[in-house]
Symmetry: C3
Subunit: 208 residues, 3 copies
């Protein structure tokens, strides 16, 4: 989110990007294609790039009453540009993906489960045990099983969608309004613990 202020922050990563993805998408794709099993315990709020990171992992378990997930980008004049539109559409379908992107709302654990955005919403005080047990069980599987499962159920090929997303994102991020909204957000504490508590409210007030 600080790209508006430090536009060259990611230049060093940009040198050896895979073809057809921007630097943000490359991070999501890197995680989505890991040979390891990636499991996210979501007990706080994941927004924007954080929500994209969550959706690029293999599995997510979300704490009821604590977890929130949202693609807040629209309030900054852009759309998710790190794979989020494609990861969402793949998980929840076009209708709910459009809703999430355009509402820019924060979704609680139970709604995120009902939409398929996360694997499951679980009681907050059971989250650690549930994920620990799952991770230990997976780690104890006989040799080769994880690789075989990932070979049988590979990541979807999102190449075309990522190009469309990058085009859509680029067309917005170059607008002066987006840079202004991002700067205003930062100036009003969008990346402080206080500001993040109701980031959507803060950004809606700035845009209004």
């Amino acid at each position: 989110m600080s790209l508006g202020d430090t536009p060259d922050a990611l230049d060093e990563f940009a040198h050896d990007l895979p073809d057809g993805v921007n630097v943000f998408q490359a991070l999501g794709e890197l995680l989505r294609h890991q040979p390891q099993v990636t499991i996210i315990k979501l007990a706080g709020m994941a927004r924007g790039g954080g929500a994209e990171f969550v959706a690029s992992a293999d599995m997510t378990f979300a704490a009821i009453g604590r977890a929130g997930i949202g693609q807040v980008e629209a309030l900054m004049g852009i759309v998710p540009g790190g794979g989020g539109t494609q990861y969402l559409a793949t998980r929840v379908g076009r209708n709910r993906a459009l809703e999430a992107v355009l509402s820019a709302d924060l979704y609680d654990a139970k709604t995120a489960e009902r939409y398929g955005w996360v694997n499951r919403a679980v009681p907050a005080d059971e989250l650690d045990d549930i994920v620990d047990r799952l991770a230990r069980n997976i780690a104890a599987l006989p040799e080769g099983v994880i690789a075989a499962a990932k070979r049988a159920i590979p990541p979807e090929d999102l190449a075309e969608g990522l190009l469309r997303e990058n085009d859509a994102w680029t067309g917005q991020i170059i607008r002066p309004a987006a840079a202004q909204l991002i700067r205003d957000g930062l100036a009003h504490g969008a990346q402080t613990p206080d500001g993040e508590r109701d980031l959507e409210g803060l950004l809606r007030r700035l845009a209004g």
Copy 2:
């Protein structure tokens, strides 16, 4: 549903149809490809072509205790022919789409949400506020965001499926039994407020 009686009612629209879709599908595709965001508030019953209309919109919010949605066509000897089979399969998967089409049942708001047929089931007395807030928030988004979101998450390409659906629909609508069932339904009040209250029951009795 009155096509049986007035087979030329749609002739005027039929002149400049897009390639590869019938006149009913063209309506759904027109709505599904709108540049605007289309949101449906479903507080009554949407069946047949009405259900197809709902499923071709970007988002649907359904009132618990009031909303119902169903593809009733099977009871008239046909299948949905205005995109409904494809919109359903895209939203709820093949298994539940087959169930909806072949059961011809009316689905309540909560079941429709669990299946992914609608975005969300909400308390009936909150429906207006929830959708108004969403629509206002979307309308207040910075310039270009809606178009960018629709570019990043475009409508699925359903061309092949729509051809299959049209073939399947055509093969049934030409049968005398379908014309007879549709005529009988109309004669018994299928399009009156009374008849629509339990349309499935009315049609099952006629077919039985």
Copy 3:
């Protein structure tokens, strides 16, 4: 599951397999492509090949408190090899499919419905009535409707995925560890009523 002991048990079926599928996949594909409507009443536990059989049918209704479904193969050192990985991914998405395959857990009716693994979880004492009514209603549909619905909503083309699955499965089943785990499981009652009550526990203890 007894393939470890009787590797030639399926030789007679193997003579006229369709191209590109193994003998287990051929069974699932045969069911998935039936012209009839196939509905499963799940009131017990379906694991491994049983779970694959369930997922290859058109619809499944599961009894709350009684039904369980699970892909237990990982605990035997393999992955589902009869279409299960593809049927799961198609129904529940990659994230939940990976979870089901790698957790090897048994999923109850309500969770299976929330994931989309089954059409619906219903009260156990209503399962028979619900499915009977549905089956009778479908059987009473006018001529041609079932075929038309299946033509409009055909089985997904899973050919590539089934090849990947077979490769992944073959790479594991040839390992001595898999044969050993399967033999140990059978020796410890994995296919007895007692052993099946907590098959996951039994297999985890053997692998641990």
